[in-house]
Symmetry: C2
Subunit: 639 residues, 2 copies
């Protein structure tokens, strides 16, 4: 009986893994009776067995073994269990020998096993095995303790595999393997129009690559509608110079397959993609299934939209709010042929930009489109392009976010943006432990953003530079995937109103000029933390996070540990951007690989300073000086 | 999207319910976007809809509604969800009205909905609905707050059902419904041979019925083998007068379809079954798939047993222990026809005794037989006899016990026998909360036994009468199903050895004479507690248990609450049979329906005494006087 194989999703969709990661596969394995069982796991890619490992019994019928994928694409985890007839026999024989009972029946049974094995492999029993059994038989009579343990191990190795099994049972689950960038990366979002278009964005790439970013994410680059265009601060009366929201996609100049003429042409786009690649970065595009009233689809395919009783096309509403500049698509038009045509057109957008070198898409508001559509379109695309990555911008209810991850999204935005306290059900500890330790960890990869163009929240609202620094450090060191939105390094902190989370003078409705070289910006911290993330594999996985004790809720201590346990970094971060905070920590020194009973030396990887610490160190963080320590143990020889 | 319907089992087998119980059905229900959804559940029995209920949204996309079964047998729970087009419309219209926005489009849309509804039901729109809509239209212009709420509710009721749904989705899970005795009952186990056979056992029935027992469980009543028969205290040399273990089934006088001649004949058996029925009790038989070497099957069907290399039939072993008096069956003989014949023969045993009026079977050691066999045989029997009840005597690992419950067993023995402390991972609180509150509660029904003929453990070993009293009270008030083994009331407490849990002079190997009328026995407590259980529906379900605080780990306080919340009993039990214990309790008065801020009167249902208590009462339990209170709140008028 093999059941409850993990990694898995709750409803049978593929779990997720990254190329190169060691994936611990676990299962509950048991059978009736007292016979000894054995189990193994195979990672398969179609007919190819990528790797195979024996599972180890951890107790309570829970078994575990590691696999590692080498290529992206669809895989199967096949867990097999069987009655280990040799081990069952050996256990029985050993106990009887120890109790000095007669083992003549066991010797006869052992020979039967050997003969079966011989018939199956088609050649003689290896001499070592035959010899071991002969010795067992000889020695059993008077001196059981002298049976040679090395020979016994030889017998076990030859006979314990599935070859002799008469009751092999298997359980198979699907595993989707992504390239590493799907699970590890630092994102930077910028509106190309504020940088002088696509060429201007390309000119930013060397700076961003130098700061250690991996992904340059662009809001929609398509023509923007004129009808009901929004003006500055989301006003209804746009002036002739107002550029409109990039998410109001489509004008007479084209729709989702066109570039906004102000941003440049396809040569400029290709140049940007190439420049990014030259700097080991990637361009991520926004995929927003909104249409402005001027989108070509409105004219060409009115059947893809909702209609009001008077025949007019319905604009988006979340009453009493109205979005007259956006027509939502009807993913279930009455005629099935219309549905197919619409879904294929939506799929074509992905393929179009993928053909131009884009392999990452940030998908706008996926929770307002059918799950069935995402399951279909991502599955369809992944069949031919397993390297595509999809980030779900779904700031919505937990079960909806989980479902989007289940049906195929590679990554997900999260509630990190609103998790600002350390403790409590709404605190960072609870949230990170849920993401990293619960069932979600098998299939939902969080991408932590301190802010987005839509969301200025928590301590960032009218917040001091330290608020931006500490939220950045948390995002970048708690999650292997994180992102910041251009202007963050300049501490843009002015809310549009006390009632919502928009920015004043939001870049969604206007161009923003920024001096990224301004002294005092957060850029040096970006560089330092991205470098820290690259030097320490501990930051490349969500799992391996451990929260240590602190007697001050404003000082949080957590360590990250790499898969092999050899890389450990202890983060100590203040949650108060306004005043100095001090705390006595209660470190779980075993997790850190540090001695629990005597002092040890740690080095702050951000400042270079060294400290001699014990299990209960005193720390003081003055946000005007620094918001965090990133501490690694210094080997005694170097300290 | 409907998912995660409960009750359910983890691997798709039917969950369990009892006739007459209100079953809270829950599911996660959500869809893309912001439209309002509605959901209902149907309990179906084939084509028959037994009952139907709307689900209520509890928050976080979790929905719940009640069903109630009226007959045993296989059922389906069908949860349906749909976009409530009316509620979506009404919400939009209401928000717009409140914001004094134009609702002419909404009125037109409302009329479309009404016309659709009219076409579907085939008659006119009810006047109340049409009137409400007209009022809405009239009033929208200048005074939205005057829309009549009663009329609005009328519209909602008529239009919110699944009739207008265009996107009905369903999720179906199987539910097995048992008669109530499968989930609620007090068992009493006795060896008929110690009572003078089947007629003697029948003579015990009036006494046991008078004490409030529901089920009389008999160890195997079949002929006992002579070959390698065990003597007193499990010795290998039985004397000619030693009766042997009833579990070594089969002799030349017959096997599982025969009665041991010393116990009586089929007339006597029928008399016993009839006597039990006359006293509202039932006879439960032991179903033990063991064969003594003298069992007719050994001669007639050697192919159903294991064979050693020399051709002899293998006896049972758990090395270094040998059970020469028992031959285990091979449930997977090499020839598939032999397997079928064996399984059918095993099935026939159940049918044979069921034809003689036995509807409850206590199944010996099911974990040493294949899960596939139990799934098949219970499923096969339940098709024609849905009133059969199967108790799994599986004292084994948690996942194996859960699997047996999943594949069909009605009840299960438990670890209660070894859970003696209040707190800690191995304590009673943790265990009962796991059984009553976790996923197991959907399909595994615990049957709590303080001891069995095989197990004398914990405080019962050489224990005083109070140990027997307190363990009895715990079993009978924590679980709706519990049992005691004859002799318990006489405090039989002598272990066979310090190394195992057997009784000295175990009844398994000899007859035991007992004077059940002896003064000072536990029988009056049996009668009092069984009466308490019958008077209070709170004890008829596993759920509804709540542990209250106690500053003394030796004093445990827990309340049981009935399904409708109207019956609450607070149990306060000492866990120390040797000395008086005192404690200050921290009662969760809200759970008890008692005032939190002023004194209230409680009556002890076991002693009749009344106390005036607050939220933090002091209690003292002297085990020489009493081991427990069973307290119910006294209405102020009666106090």
């Amino acid at each position: 009986m093999v059941q409850d194989v993990r990694p898995a999703t709750p409803h049978g969709y593929p779990a997720k893994a990254l190329v190169g990661d060691t994936v611990p596969v676990s299962a509950n394995v048991f059978r009736d009776g007292h016979d000894v069982i054995a189990a193994q796991v195979e990672l398969r890619r179609g007919d190819l067995v990528v790797c195979r490992a024996r599972l180890e019994h951890l107790g309570n019928d829970e078994w575990r073994g590691p696999v590692r994928a080498t290529e992206p694409g669809p895989h199967q985890l096949v867990v097999m269990a069987w009655t280990d007839r040799y081990a069952t026999w050996a256990h029985k024989a050993a106990v009887k020998l120890a109790a000095r009972q007669d083992v003549s029946v066991e010797i006869a049974e052992g020979l039967v096993l050997l003969r079966e094995w011989q018939a199956l492999v088609g050649h003689e029993v290896p001499p070592v095995v035959a010899h071991a059994l002969a010795m067992l038989a000889d020695e059993a009579a008077d001196e059981p303790s002298r049976v040679n343990p090395a020979l016994a191990a030889g017998v076990a190795h030859a006979l314990s595999g599935p070859l002799l099994a008469t009751d092999l049972t298997t359980a198979t689950v699907e595993l989707w393997v992504d390239r590493r960038r799907a699970g590890v990366g630092a994102w930077y979002e910028l509106f190309p129009r504020s940088s002088g278009g696509l060429r201007g964005a390309a000119a930013q790439v060397p700076r961003l690559a130098g700061l250690g970013f991996d992904v340059l994410y662009l809001p929609p680059v398509h023509p923007i509608g004129r009808t009901f265009r929004k003006g500055r601060n989301n006003s209804l009366d746009a002036g002739p110079e107002d550029p409109g929201s990039p998410w109001a996609i489509g004008s007479e100049e084209g729709g989702h397959l066109a570039l906004h003429p102000d941003l440049g042409d396809f040569d400029d786009f290709d140049h940007l993609v190439r420049t990014a690649a030259d700097h080991d970065m990637e361009v991520a595009l926004d995929y927003a299934l909104n249409c402005s009233p001027d989108h070509p689809w409105v004219r060409e395919h009115p059947e893809w939209f909702y209609h009001r009783p008077d025949g007019s096309i319905a604009y988006a509403e979340n009453p009493p709010k109205k979005y007259q500049d956006i027509y939502p698509l009807n993913f279930w038009p009455p005629d099935e042929r219309d549905r197919q045509a619409l879904w294929e057109a939506c799929r074509e957008i992905f393929d179009f930009w993928a053909d131009r070198g884009v392999r990452i898409f940030r998908v706008d508001n996926p929770h307002t489109k059918p799950f069935a559509f995402w399951e279909w379109v991502i599955g369809r695309l992944h069949r031919e392009r397993p390297d595509l990555v999809f980030l779900a911008e779904a700031f919505t209810r937990p079960k909806v976010m989980a479902r989007l991850a289940e049906v195929g999204f590679s990554q997900s935005y999260t509630y990190f943006t609103w998790r600002t306290a350390q403790y409590g059900p709404e605190g960072l500890r609870t949230y990170v432990e849920e993401l990293a330790g619960g069932p979600l960890a098998d299939y939902m990869r969080p991408n932590f953003w301190p802010s987005t163009p839509d969301i200025l929240s928590g301590p960032l609202r009218n917040g001091p530079p330290a608020a931006f620094a500490l939220r950045y450090v948390l995002a970048a060191t708690l999650s292997p995937l994180y992102g910041v939105y251009s202007g963050y390094e300049l501490y843009e902190n002015e809310p549009a109103s006390p009632d919502n989370e928009e920015y004043m003078w939001s870049e969604k409705y206007q161009l923003c000029e920024r001096d990224f070289d301004r002294p005092g910006s957060l850029s040096p911290l970006f560089a330092a933390v991205n470098s820290l993330r690259r030097r320490h594999p501990a930051f490349s996985r969500l799992q391996g996070v451990h929260f240590h004790g602190s007697d001050n809720p404003n000082v949080m201590a957590y360590s990250k540990t790499s898969e092999d346990g050899r890389d450990v970094v202890l983060m100590v971060v203040t949650l108060d951007p306004h005043s100095a905070q001090q705390a006595n920590l209660r470190l779980d020194t075993a997790v850190l690989g540090a001695p629990g009973d005597r002092p040890f030396v740690v080095r702050d990887e951000l400042s270079g300073e060294q400290y001699t610490w014990g299990a209960n160190p005193y720390v003081r963080l003055d946000p005007f000086r620094r918001v965090a320590h990133a501490l690694v143990p210094v080997p005694a020889a170097e300290a």
